[in-house]
């Protein structure tokens, strides 16, 4: 039985604008691409019962998340004519204002990139075993829930 090598989507800590720029720059040689779509999730400084969120600490069931992400990736490539798809999700403590999710899709014409990106974000939030613990400024916490 051959073991399939799973693509890692997890990065330790926040996703930097420089990382995103490098990812964009790598596509300059892919001259069949006409449209790129990027979604970025940023940690909000929400106020909950008078306390502000200072950071979100992300953990995941990594092996299961990567297996599931692989399924999602295959579904999306089968459904949309994409040239590229990249997904990165943070683990660990991400401060308010920092980026914790980066989804990047590219296609010859704009619609598939946009639609695939939207569907990817929906599925990542609904199907990947990742949990966010909202850390308040007073170091108390509550577990985030995706609505």
């Amino acid at each position: 039985m051959s073991e399939k090598k799973l693509k890692n989507i997890f990065v330790k800590g926040a996703i930097s604008p420089g990382f995103i720029a490098d990812s964009i720059a790598k596509h300059a040689t892919k001259t069949a691409i006409g449209g790129h779509n990027i979604f970025m999730g940023q940690v909000r400084k929400d106020e909950i019962n008078g306390k502000f969120v200072a950071a979100i600490d992300y953990t995941a069931y990594e092996e299961l998340a990567l297996t599931k992400m692989d399924e999602i990736r295959e579904d999306i490539f089968a459904k949309y004519p994409l040239n590229c798809m990249h997904v990165h999700h943070s683990l660990g403590s991400i401060q308010a204002g920092e980026i914790c999710l980066f989804v990047f899709t590219s296609s010859a014409h704009r619609k598939p990139a946009m639609e695939a990106c939207n569907e990817l974000v929906e599925r990542i939030k609904a199907e990947l075993p990742i949990w966010g613990k909202e850390i308040f400024e007073d170091e108390t916490h509550q577990w985030k829930e995706n609505i």
Binding site: Y61, H89, L101, V121, L128, I130, K133, W143, E145, N146
Partner: protein
Amino acid sequence: MKLEIISFGKISEFIRQQQIEISDVINTDQLKSYLETSFPQLAGMKYKLAINQNVIQSNQSLKNEDKVAIMPPFSGG
């Protein structure tokens, strides 16, 4: 039967990673009852099980040395 239990998110605050040795439990429905009795906080919560990295949608039989993950609703992104 010996099972390895792992847990995540809010649930990891009261169920730690552990090996359990149980008898009279042959499927995931029975395991849920066992867990909710052993860890009463779990009873009122929404959660899912994954057995050996397969998320369980309906009752499924268990075998010795299965790895059971107890997962609250996901909140990534």
